[in-house]
Symmetry: C2
DNA sequence: AACCCTTACGACAACGTTTTCGTGTTGAAA
DNA sequence: TTTCAACACGAAAACGTTGTCGTAAGGGTT
């Protein structure tokens, strides 16, 4: 078991100074061709690699970006991470991923942990609990310390930073409009409670679409799910006797649960009811009937977020560039849960 | 924008030495009650937090464990990560997650990156390409450097280290036995090419189950999928005219594709064909018919891997504990893709 | 012979901590 | 008054790097 070799050890072995070794390895012209070759050969032999921690300390940057997401188990977030990784690696950054599990406390702890030197900046989608509490001190703090922060998907208006979002409102509007165009007369909505920002926006989109088509909004056919864990039963119960011919759900799961409920009632999808969901996950693709859905282009979102962050990280000290909010286009992927 | 405050700055402000500040904050009895209070108050006011990078450098450990997985998009891996996180956080470690995307090169790069100080040890499931190439130099290297390594799921026999696996062979055997007990006479298998270790083991389990029941193994009803991306078509074509009444698939996707193929042929699942898959993901739960499947208990697996790693990390220098291989029990979750 | 310019390298500081080992000031015991 | 422990603090080293600066040796020019 040979521990990692350091500059100092190389220096001692070759009877030169540490500085000489460092310079030789970085091809400094200060060092004679001879010594340079000798040192490089030795370093290669012992597989020398500079210690990142020491470099981080010296340079006061870690070339690392921290990603904090509410829950990794959602396919959407994994695609975002994918996009972040691609861009980050390309530009020589590594990525640390932490999960908040939708807990405010864990979000705070993780941020403080990473903020103490481990990370140069953050990409984050806030926890549900944080949106509920509206306590953003940990966010303002890292910004105040000069660490760039990019928020995506679930963003907070009040915080000034770069943001990457999708146009939840219009995406929903378009989807609901599609249902209307398919001649649906009674379109239900399954959404989340209002404090989840994206849930709220999608609800608004639904309402606007109906209004623009002079359809009155009927609160009886809108369900705001509180508790994700029991949503299947809740949705099942909610859909009894509603006689819908169209339904929009703010995520994949709600949509699937709804379809199941309809099937249980002896209804046919899409013949009797058309259903559109949100988030283009594996489930949407594989389910029978496959689900018409709003695709959020997570990879692109992640890539854009990483690009924004790195741009901030590498901008000159003095130059204060304005914050940007980028909207990623969505697309409606039509499958078999809607009529043709 | 006030940058993070350091010990040195506190020392200067309060006109004491850096050592005094450090000691005061760590409640050393060397420092008088008075000064201690003063320093602590000041530190709190300015929200002092020690710099992790400096600590890592000094202590020569980072309290961080690196996790390298082939693909985050597989639900199974996300559950494993969940388990790792739980245990790690509990014991004061953070977790860095990197994806190899099943590429050998990326696996090597990521390991080298993290091995240079960022990480105290590794938890890893090897990339498909690595298993194929059988080039493990990066693994032996980190072990030689004294960094503990725990492999899970896709492990490599030849490498000496802690391992957490599931009993793929017996899990499959039990599942196939179940099909036999359900009176299936012609049981097909959809598996991966042999160099994927778990694919091989599961294939062996299938063969053994048949042999023990004096059923001859018919290579015509075994499909070894090469290319994941085109597997749906491949499976569809393969199943034509096979007249199976039972099928085992080594993962969730293959199982679902098979069911779809059966349904397309006008067969009924489970009435005409019983299907069992592997990996208890969202798809298995939600699909209609819901899929009978071998659950791998990913969370438990991750938790165990983290426990093993941390145990090694915190064991006394001299004491060389033997390597362990832990087998996580699987369970067969019976749903609607098999007869009762 | 006196001077200066290269060449080739080493010493040292710095990044932020912790910890060991001094050391100056008290107060009390002899 | 001397001696010595207890107390309260500071200096310095160490972790592994990089970069600035200093400098010795050598060779060339007057």
């Amino acid at each position: 078991m040979k521990k990692k070799i350091t500059l100092k050890q190389i220096a001692r072995e070759l009877d030169v100074s540490v500085s000489t070794v460092s310079k030789a390895l970085r091809d400094s012209i200060e060092i004679s061709e001879d010594t340079r070759q000798k040192i490089k050969a030795f370093a290669k032999l012992y597989n020398y690699k500079p210690n990142n921690i020491a470099l981080s300390l010296k340079n006061r940057k870690s070339k690392t970006i921290g990603v904090i997401i509410p829950e990794i188990v959602h396919h959407f977030f994994t695609t975002v991470i994918s996009g972040i990784e691609q861009v980050a690696n390309e530009k020589g950054y590594h990525v640390i991923i932490c999960m908040s599990n939708n807990s405010f406390d864990k979000e705070v702890i993780n941020m403080e942990l990473l903020a103490n030197g481990s990370t140069d900046g953050f990409i984050l989608s806030v926890a549900k609990e944080t949106q509920q509490k509206q306590d953003y001190h940990h966010l303002t703090e890292v910004i105040n310390q000069g660490m760039p922060l990019v928020m995506f998907d679930r963003v907070i208006e009040e915080i000034e930073c770069d943001k990457v979002i999708i146009d939840d409102l219009n995406a929903t509007k378009k989807a609901v409009q599609r249902l209307i165009d398919l001649n649906c007369k009674k379109i239900g909505l399954i959404t989340t409670v209002d404090y989840v920002s994206v849930g709220k926006l999608r609800t608004d989109g639904y309402v606007q679409a109906l209004r623009e088509n002079k359809i009155s909004v009927n609160p009886d056919i809108i369900l705001k799910v509180e508790d994700f864990d029991n949503s299947e039963e809740e949705i099942q119960a909610f859909l009894i006797g509603k006689e819908l011919d169209g339904l929009f759900a703010v995520n994949e799961h709600f949509a699937i649960y709804a379809i199941k409920a309809f099937l249980n009632q002896g209804l046919k999808v899409p013949e009797d009811v058309s259903v559109i969901g949100f988030t283009n996950g594996e489930l949407s693709r594989q389910f029978i009937p496959s689900l018409t859905t709003v695709s959020q282009h997570g990879v692109e979102m992640g890539a854009k977020a990483a690009t924004l962050l790195i741009k901030k990280l590498e901008s000159e000290e003095g130059v204060e560039e304005p914050y940007e909010t980028i909207t990623i286009e969505t697309s409606l992927i039509e499958r078999n849960s809607t009529k043709r």
